[in-house]
């Protein structure tokens, strides 16, 4: 009996990538070598090396992809430019009178930080560094305080700008502007889910609300000080909608704006720039290598018709759209526990999107779904960048923080169901703005 080369290729990809991850290889290397091996089966060694390398190059050679390094750079500039503390102060004015006000402040600050940066890790580090010591001082349970920060930080991956949406836009050929707008609703759902848990947990872990309240004048001043920082989101989104620049170009404008702001605040000097640029270049390289090898991977998968194999298998189980959607959500949640959103989106979008499109789910809505789903993974063990960083800035090991994440995960999961089954939430804003 002969085995179909496509099946061999599919098996090589599945087990090769899993083995690479289990052996502690850089994920990109595991993907790259497995892709090459599968391509050798399909094309022979000579064409396989050529096609894989060409595909890596062309995968990166994309103008919209430029938004990623530029938004990363803008985020780094913000971290070193004194913007985080101003946003936290503003968040405190907004929710300072609520029960568990400092925990709520942390959540809202992560939402605000998300609105000016494209990554979640940056929020967990920048906001957490300031809020964690204060929360412990006020008598919060330390692991719980870290869990609040960890759980709320990924909101920034949904609230625009978002590098994760840029990656999705590339593989799904959907408009970045529409995706950015589609992320706003689910991002708010994420923030509200965290706030809800903070309220419910108030009796158990909360600290008494601060007794001294700032005067209205002080509050206004605090908010005013944060306006220039928050104005970045106005420039980015407004500039896109008005037509000064494309979403990709807006990232470069964000860099210039945050640079000027950091220099004006005197928290940033020209001498710091090379270090900030180099740090951003590192992050860029990590994402870019993944994009490159995943681009080769998706080519080989298309060539072997693997997306069709998977969709036939899924449709063979059931043809009920709801059931298939839930199956996909479970697969992605499991994948997300050990895989970063970027490679997961690059691998699974070409497989899942054609299936859900047939059910009439809009690609923009599915983008919001998949990004929300995989964002959960960044706070779950065994592998979750935001979890690692959040625990670290709280000075804790991972385990105690994980122990306090349960209710947050439940709330975020309910949020996921809402995002999946209420398309209005994602689609209203981009539709109203005429982007789709």
């Amino acid at each position: 009996m002969t085995v179909d080369p496509s099946t061999i290729a599919a098996l090589i990809l599945l087990f090769g990538i899993l083995a690479g991850i289990a052996l502690g290889m850089p994920i990109a290397v595991g993907i790259g070598l497995s892709t090459l091996a599968a391509a050798v089966v399909l094309l022979g060694p000579d064409r396989a090396v050529l096609t894989t390398s060409q595909r890596m190059f062309t995968g990166i050679n994309s103008f919209p992809l430029l938004a990623i390094p530029l938004f990363v750079l803008a985020g780094s500039l913000m971290n070193s430019g004194g913007i985080a503390t101003r946003l936290i102060d503003a968040a405190k004015v907004l929710v300072g009178r609520m029960p568990s006000s400092l925990a709520a402040t942390n959540v809202v600050a992560n939402g605000l930080f998300g609105a000016v940066s494209g990554a979640a890790v940056a929020a967990a580090a920048a906001v957490g560094t300031v809020t964690q010591p204060r929360m412990v001082q006020e008598g919060y349970n330390r692991p719980y305080a870290a869990a609040v920060n960890v759980a709320s930080a990924p909101a920034g991956m949904l609230i625009p700008p978002s590098n994760t949406f840029i990656v999705y836009s590339l593989v799904s050929s959907t408009s970045i502007a529409a995706l950015f707008m589609a992320g706003v609703g689910p991002g708010l759902v994420w923030v509200l889910a965290c706030i809800a848990v903070v309220m419910v947990m108030h009796k158990k872990y909360g600290a008494p609300p601060a007794t001294e309240h700032p005067t209205i004048g002080q509050s206004l001043l605090t908010v005013w000080r944060a306006v220039p920082s928050l104005f970045m989101i106005v420039i980015v989104v407004g500039g896109i909608l008005i037509g000064w620049f494309t979403p990709t170009e807006s990232a470069a404008i964000a860099v210039v704006y945050t640079l000027v702001l950091g220099l004006l605040y005197r928290e940033m000097t020209v001498g710091n720039l090379p270090k900030v640029l180099l740090d951003s270049a590192r992050t860029t390289a990590i994402v870019m290598l993944l994009v490159g090898v995943s681009s080769a991977l998706s080519w080989v998968m298309s060539f072997a018709r693997i997306p069709r194999l998977v969709s036939d298998a899924l449709l063979g189980l059931t043809t009920n759209p709801q059931v298939i959607l839930i199956l996909m959500m479970i697969i992605l949640l499991v994948v997300g526990t050990f895989m970063d959103p970027t490679p997961a989106i690059l691998i699974f979008t070409p497989i899942f999107l054609p299936i859900v499109s047939e059910f009439g789910i809009h690609p923009v809505h599915f983008g919001a779904i998949i990004v929300y789903n995989l964002s959960v993974g960044v706070i779950t063990p065994p592998v979750g960048n935001v979890l690692f960083v959040g625990a670290r800035v709280a000075g804790l090991r991972i385990e105690p923080v994980v122990a306090k994440l349960g209710w947050f995960l439940l709330a975020l999961f309910i949020g996921l169901l809402i995002v999946v089954f209420v398309p209005f939430l994602s689609m209203w804003l981009p539709t109203t703005l005429g982007l789709i």
Binding site: P5, L50, T51, F63, G243, W244, T248, W299, F303
Partner: protein, 321 residues
């Protein structure tokens, strides 16, 4: 997946006449006339060669955009592809003659020229030695015009307009000759850019104008008819040469039927797109054709610099009657 028996291990480039399941890379969707005509071509080829040869069409750039597909066909990873003249021009400057604004008066004229052995014989085999690619002929991609939110009658109306172009010196020169400001931009960004005003206009055929929904944000289509677009079908030279005489004849006959069917489908798709766009609020207006022809004439001097380019262009014009 590739479960129809014979040889599913990819192409058989260089592998001696035994037949092959060929893969064809296409940049269009499954509803596009190009896909329909090519898919029918593949089915007919299977019948005519008793399943020795088949063609599976991979739509939606699944196997890469046109520039990549051209490389993959040369390498033999992919057997066939639809690529634009701009891509071929990067390898052999002579293709510029058929990419020139003003080369063709109509789709019919274009199809006649690009399938005339006397005119294109040497051109279509010119990449065999260097790139292992043979050109078989082409599909029209329709007549391109300018669209924006205002009527354009003369080149003067385009003064200062930021018009999206493909990133090629010729297309940039073309829009500038027509009076506008050429703005290269990725295709996927055009809708939002037109809507927000990053762009004042773009240029394309009626079918793309409708299917990409650009008519929603640029409701006036001014028939400048400045360019008749053209895509070529290319094949890996080894694959073509490995076909037996009989199979190759079946293949070439099938291809002739396919591009004829495509021309027919394209005309229908164009009429449909115009009707649908009009129903969606778009208007189609005529322009001062002579003024635009005059405006773009200097491009021929500028971009057709070699004798062979000029000869091809003149041959195309001579066939215009």
């Amino acid at each position: 997946a590739c479960g129809n028996g014979s040889d599913s291990s990819g192409s058989t480039a260089g592998g001696g006449g035994g037949g092959a399941d060929m893969r064809l890379a296409l940049n269009q969707t499954e509803e596009h006339p190009s896909f329909i005509a090519l898919d029918n071509f593949g089915q007919k080829l299977s019948e005519d060669t008793e399943d020795r040869y088949s063609i599976e069409v991979y739509p939606n750039e699944e196997l890469g955009a046109q520039a990549e597909a051209l490389q993959y066909v040369g390498d033999g990873s992919v057997d066939l592809a639809i690529v634009s003249g701009t891509q071929l021009e990067n390898l052999n400057a002579d293709f510029a003659a058929f990419n020139m604004p003003g080369a063709f008066d109509s789709v019919e004229h274009q199809m006649e020229v690009i399938h005339d052995e006397e005119i294109v014989g040497d051109l279509y085999t010119s990449l065999e030695e260097s790139n292992n690619v043979t050109i078989l002929g082409g599909f029209t991609q329709g007549t391109r015009s300018i669209y924006s939110d205002k009527e354009i009658r003369t080149p003067e109306d385009m003064a200062g307009m930021k018009v999206r172009v493909q990133e090629s010196p010729l297309h940039i020169g073309m829009i500038e000759a027509m009076g506008g400001s050429a703005t290269p931009m990725a295709f996927g960004e055009v809708y939002t850019a037109l809507q927000s005003g990053v762009l004042d206009g773009a240029e394309n055929n009626e079918v793309s104008y409708f299917t990409q929904k650009h008519f929603e944000v640029a409701p006036v289509y001014s028939r400048t008819n400045h360019l008749v677009g053209l895509d070529y079908l290319i094949i890996n030279t080894d694959v073509l040469e490995s076909m037996s005489e009989e199979d190759r004849q079946a293949f070439l006959d099938g291809w002739t039927a396919a591009h004829q069917e495509h021309t027919q489908l394209w005309a229908e798709a164009t009429d449909q797109a115009i009707a649908d766009a009009e129903a969606g609020g778009a208007t189609f207006v005529d322009v001062d054709a002579e003024a635009f022809a005059e405006a773009i004439a200097p491009l021929q001097e500028e971009f057709l610099t070699t004798d062979s380019q000029k000869a091809l262009f003149d041959a195309a014009r001579a066939a215009a009657k």
